[in-house]
Amino acid sequence: MMSPAAVTKYAAPVLACIGLLAVWQVASLALKNDSFPTAIEAISAIPSILGDKESLINILASLRRMAMGFGAAVLVSIPLGLLMGRSAAIAAFFNPLLMVIYPVPKAALMPIIMLWLGVGDITKTLVIFLGVSLPVIYHSFEGAKAIEEKMLWSGAAMGLSPLQRLVRIVLPAALPEILTGCRTGLVLALITMITSEMIARQSGAGNILFNALDMGQYDTVFAMIIIVGAMGICLDAIFERVRARLVRWSEPQFDMPLSFS
C-alpha cells in the first residue's frame, strides 16, 4: 500500500499527461484541421513507426550520433572547463573564443560544416558536439572556480601534485556543478540532433519527421514528436538517477546537521 505522498508523486505526472492529451484531443476535434490530427490518431501511428525496421534503424542511428556527440563533448569540455576555472591564463585564452561561439545557433554552422565534411555522420555529430560543449564547459568552469582554495591547500599538504589536485580534488568537488551542465547538454544534444537531421536529411529520427511532413502524413509527424519527446524524458530521467547517485554526498540526508560538538 502506497502512502498518500507516494500516490501523488506517481499519479501526478500520469494525470498531467492524460490532461494534455485530452486537451489536444478536444482541440483537434474542434478545429477539424487536416494538419492537426487528434491525439488518438497520433498515438495510433506510433506502433507502426516503432514496428518498422527502417524507422527503427533511423532512430537508432540518431541515438548513436547523439551518444557520440555528447560523449565526445563531455570528454573534451570537462577538462577544458576545469582548467579554465583553475588557471586565469587558460580562461583568458579560451573565454573570447567561447563568447564568440556562444550566441551562434550551432545549426547555423551546419551549411559550412556540410561543405567541408559532407552530409554524413561526422557533420551531424560535430554539430551535436558543439551544442553540448558550451554548457558543460561553462558549468565545469564555474564549478572549478568556486572551489574552496583551502581544500586544494589541504591536498597539497598531503603531497598531491597539481595534476592530482585537478583530477582528485577539483573534479569531484565540482562534480555537482559539472553534472548540472551535462544535464542541460543532454537536452541540447537531443535538440541539435533533430535540427541537424532537418538540415541534412539523410537518415535519423528528424528525417522521418520531416519526410512525413513533406508527404502530408500528419499523424506520423505528431507521432514522431511524441517519440522524440519521450526519448528526451527517458534520457533525462536516467541521467537524473545517475546524477543523484554520484552526488549523493552533496545533498544532505538530514534537514538539520547533527547537534553534537
Partner: protein, 281 residues
C-alpha cells in the same frame, strides 16, 4: 611574569645566533606586500623574524588584518613571501609538504568523502596500505570523539564535528608541525571550549610542534607555551610572551589561577594601550 620586549627575548633573535638543535621553524625577515584593488601596496607583514622550537605550542595573536594568517600560510608554503624566507629544519620552504599539516577555520574537508575517507586520504596518498590506513584512521576518529560517525559525509556534521574530522585528517599523515589557522573561530563558544580542551588533551600526549593563529587572548594563553603578539598596518611582532603555566592544564583550575588571569589581563591591556581593536578575551 616573563613579558619581555620582542627584540631582547630569547625567543626572537637574529637567525645566526640560534641553536639549530631545538629550532624547527625559522622565519627570517619575512615581509609580505599585497597589491590592493586601488593599486596601492598593502604591507601585510613587515620584517618578521621568529623561531619556533620543536615541541612548542606557539600562538600568533593579533587583531584581524595583522597578517597573522598570512604568516601561517608562508610557513605552510601556500604563499610565497615578498621578501625574506621561512625555513623548516634548515630547509627553505618553497611548497606545501606533509611535514606541515594545516587545519583551517573553513575546515576544508573533502565533501565527497566520508569521515573515514577524509581521514584516510593523507595516509593513502603517502602510500600506506588501505587496511593499515583504515585501522589508524579509525583510531584517530575515536580519539577526536567521533566514533560511530565514520560513514557520515561532512555535510551531515555540525561545525565542531567537522573541525574534529579536519584535525584527525591532518594528524593522520603525521606532520611534524601542526599549522592551525583560527581553527575554532567559526564555532560557538561552548563548542569552542570543548574543542580547546580536547586539542590540549591530544597535544599533551605527543607534544607536536603547533603554530596556532587566533584573535582570542583567552585561547592563546590557555593553550600556548609562547604567545606572539602582533600589531597591524603593517603587521609586526610587538611582543613575545612566555606563558609559564603548569601542564597538563585543566580549564577549571586554570580559570581560577591568578597567574592565568594576569596573563590575560596584561595582554589585553597591551592591545588596549596601542588602541588595537579586534582582539577579544
Amino acid at each position: 611574569m616573563t613579558i619581555v620586549p620582542a627584540r631582547s627575548s630569547e625567543w626572537v633573535r637574529p637567525v645566526a645566533q640560534q641553536e639549530p638543535a631545538s629550532a624547527i621553524i625559522e622565519i627570517d625577515r619575512v615581509s609580505q606586500v599585497f597589491q590592493t584593488s586601488a593599486r596601492k601596496d598593502h604591507v601585510a607583514l613587515s620584517d618578521i623574524s621568529l623561531t619556533i622550537e620543536e615541541g612548542a605550542f606557539v600562538s600568533i595573536l593579533g587583531p584581524s588584518g595583522c597578517g597573522k594568517s598570512t604568516l601561517l600560510y608562508i610557513v605552510g608554503g601556500f604563499v610565497s613571501p615578498t621578501s625574506g624566507a621561512a625555513k623548516m629544519k634548515g630547509q627553505a620552504i618553497t611548497a606545501p609538504g606533509p611535514d606541515r599539516g594545516p587545519v583551517f577555520q573553513e575546515f576544508a574537508l573533502f565533501p565527497w568523502k566520508t569521515v573515514l575517507g577524509n581521514v584516510m586520504y593523507g595516509p593513502r596518498q603517502q602510500g600506506v596500505r588501505a587496511t593499515e590506513a583504515e585501522a589508524q584512521s579509525r583510531a584517530l576518529i575515536e580519539m577526536v570523539g567521533l566514533k560511530g560517525y565514520e560513514n557520515f559525509y561532512p555535510k551531515e556534521l555540525s561545525g565542531g564535528m567537522k573541525q574534529r574530522v579536519a584535525l584527525a585528517r591532518t594528524l593522520a599523515y603525521h606532520p611534524e608541525v601542526l599549522l592551525m589557522d583560527e581553527p575554532f573561530g567559526a564555532l560557538d563558544a561552548h563548542t569552542r571550549t570543548r574543542l580547546q580542551n580536547d586539542l590540549l588533551n591530544i597535544w599533551e600526549r605527543d607534544r607536536k610542534t603547533v603554530l596556532f593563529v587566533t584573535h582570542s587572548v583567552d585561547e592563546a594563553v590557555f593553550l600556548s607555551d609562547k604567545v606572539v603578539m602582533m600589531s597591524k598596518s603593517p603587521g609586526r611582532i610587538r611582543q613575545v610572551i612566555d606563558i609559564d603555566l603548569p601542564r597538563p592544564r585543566r580549564r577549571n583550575e586554570l580559570l581560577l589561577d591568578p597567574r592565568y588571569q594576569k596573563y590575560v589581563v596584561d595582554i589585553e591591556r597591551m592591545f588596549d594601550e596601542s588602541d588595537e581593536g579586534g582582539v577579544s578575551a
